[in-house]
């Protein structure tokens, strides 16, 4: 079972990883966008890590507290979408002490649905949605959820590399964006690696 204790430890790893990757994420976002994705992730994950000690024992409420901490300091597209997804997952897990890894696909699907509504984007548009969807699909058939999640995020990132961007400022550089990672997908790979400790 994944518990609030796991969440606490994961949030500290996430903060350290984002601290280390901030410049790289800024640079990836800056290639065709405004170059703030590293700032978003650093500020957001710092805020979440600061709350780690005080997270409630209800797993759903703990996810909600993470979302609120993140959104209070970062309102960029990515930060807002992540918080939206976390809140959706939080509702599913409310009143429970933890979740079982095989519930992950359902939580991810709930997150993606809300994120699509919030961001008015579709799947297969080369965004973080595709990373989350790929993880949800892969996690339905695995014994090693951590490794599977990381692999799925990485595979999705690579698979979509050859597609043109469809959201944000990068979209107007259709052809130029082909061959480049979507910064949000790249970030999700790094996030999942940090959360799972790989």
């Amino acid at each position: 079972m994944i518990t609030v204790a796991d969440l606490r430890a994961a949030s500290l790893r996430l903060r350290d990883a984002m601290e280390a990757e901030a410049d790289a994420l800024n640079a990836a976002d800056g290639a065709l966008g405004d170059g703030d994705l590293g700032v978003t992730m650093r500020r957001g994950s710092r805020a979440v890590a600061e709350k780690a000690e005080d997270l409630p024992e209800d797993f759903g409420m703990a996810l909600m507290a993470c979302a609120q901490a993140f959104t209070k300091v970062s309102a960029s597209s990515y930060g807002t979408l992540l918080a939206t997804g976390l809140m959706a997952a939080a509702k599913e897990a409310k009143g429970r002490e933890g979740i079982d890894p095989d519930e992950l696909p359902a939580l991810l699907d709930a997150a993606v649905t809300k994120m699509m509504a919030r961001g008015k984007a579709e799947l297969r548009g080369k965004t973080v949605l595709d990373s989350l969807d790929a993880m949800a699909r892969a996690l339905t058939r695995t014994d090693d959820p951590a490794a599977t999640a990381v692999q799925a995020a990485e595979d999705a990132q690579v698979a979509f590399r050859s597609k043109p961007a469809t959201v944000g400022r990068a979209r107007i550089f259709g052809e130029k964006s082909v061959g480049m990672d979507d910064p949000g997908m790249l970030a999700m790979t790094k996030i999942v690696k940090a959360l799972t400790g790989r």
Partner: protein, 333 residues
């Protein structure tokens, strides 16, 4: 980093503190986090409220346009970053005089998502809201995808005209209609000659050669449509106006306002050199230029460059454009 500041993290809060200290008759900070600014003398009861919001670093946009005949309140994010939905909700609450509130802001992912969430937050408090998005930057999407364009200096016209409509007593649907009509009537394009520096980043957002310029660049330094050596003023003016006129028809008998806007460092002298060209050309096309705006109306801090905005007017829009307004950055008598 050629910037005058203390702690980069305090850039926005210290700016707002100075703004409110300098003009206490116009601006006051509201909301828990001090990231919403409202009119010191609120609109009268029953007036439709208008709020905007977005990242800092664009003064007078957004906060500067809080004032009589303009915005009622504004939520302010960090430099080039969206405010949070809570901050936006603060702005909406203070702007509400019982007749509902128009959310009037630029089409940017973070801003849209957060203003949507803010609308959800205040809905439970029985505040009715509507939304009009500015999407005037023709360089940010082709005409077929016009709704995906980003909002730039055209919002100055929308603030002014919707603000006057609200002052004139139109109801929420009416103010929203006028704001949407204005948004539909505006087209903008920008050209940058040098970057600006986001305080928290500490170095220029992009590199550009000493003799280069970029056409169609975004106001946060997002890449434009071409980069080449710096052209003469008239060539720049002609291409920029070409790009706008390709997107909106303006001809004999039309009445149009034009904003020749500095992105920050480009001085008034050079704006007037450009305006001279634009004015002559619109006149030659038989159009009448009404209340041209030349100056720093929507900036990216110390970026060098300009943007042009055309706002095609009908009698209703022209009347509201010329109506009185009063803020620290713009007075119409």
């Amino acid at each position: 980093m050629k910037k005058i500041l203390n702690d980069p993290e305090a850039y926005v809060d210290e700016t707002l503190a100075g703004l409110c200290a300098a003009h206490p008759e116009t601006y006051r900070l509201v909301g828990e986090e001090g990231r919403a600014v409202a009119r010191t003398t609120p609109g009268r009861d029953g007036k439709v409220g208008i709020v905007s919001g977005g990242g800092s670093g664009h003064l007078p946009v957004f906060t500067g346009y809080v004032g009589a005949g303009l915005l009622d309140a504004c939520a302010i994010g960090d430099v080039f970053a969206s405010p949070t939905s809570e901050q936006m909700a603060d702005a909406i609450r203070v702007a509400d005089r019982g007749a509902g509130v128009l959310r009037l802001y630029g089409n940017y992912g973070g801003d849209v998502m957060n203003f949507d969430m803010a609308g959800d937050l205040v809905e439970i408090e029985d505040i009715e809201t509507t939304t009009v998005l500015l999407a005037d930057d023709v360089a940010s999407a082709p005409p077929e995808e016009a709704e995906k364009r980003r909002g730039v200096a055209g919002m100055v016209y929308a603030f002014k005209i919707a603000g006057a409509a609200a002052e004139a007593g139109l109801d929420l649907a009416g103010v929203t209609r006028v704001a949407q009509k204005t948004a539909d009537a505006c087209r903008s394009v920008g050209a940058a000659l040098s970057s600006c520096t986001v305080p928290q980043a500490g170095k220029p957002t992009f590199e550009i050669g000493e003799d280069e310029m970029e056409m169609g660049m975004g106001i946060h330094g997002e890449p434009g449509v071409w980069r080449d050596t710096l052209r003469p003023a008239d060539a720049i003016a002609e291409e920029m106006l070409d790009r706008l006129l390709a997107d909106i028809e303006i001809g004999g008998g039309d009445r149009v306002s034009v904003l020749v806007n500095s992105l920050g460092a480009t001085p008034h002298e050079e704006l007037y050199i450009l305006y001279r060209n634009v004015h002559a050309r619109l006149k030659a096309a038989g159009a009448e230029v009404v209340m041209p705006l030349v100056g720093r109306y929507a900036t990216s801090m110390e970026m060098t460059g300009v943007s042009f905005t055309l706002c095609k007017l009908d009698a209703e829009l022209e009347g509201y454009l010329k109506a009185p307004c009063d803020c620290a950055f713009w007075i119409v008598k």
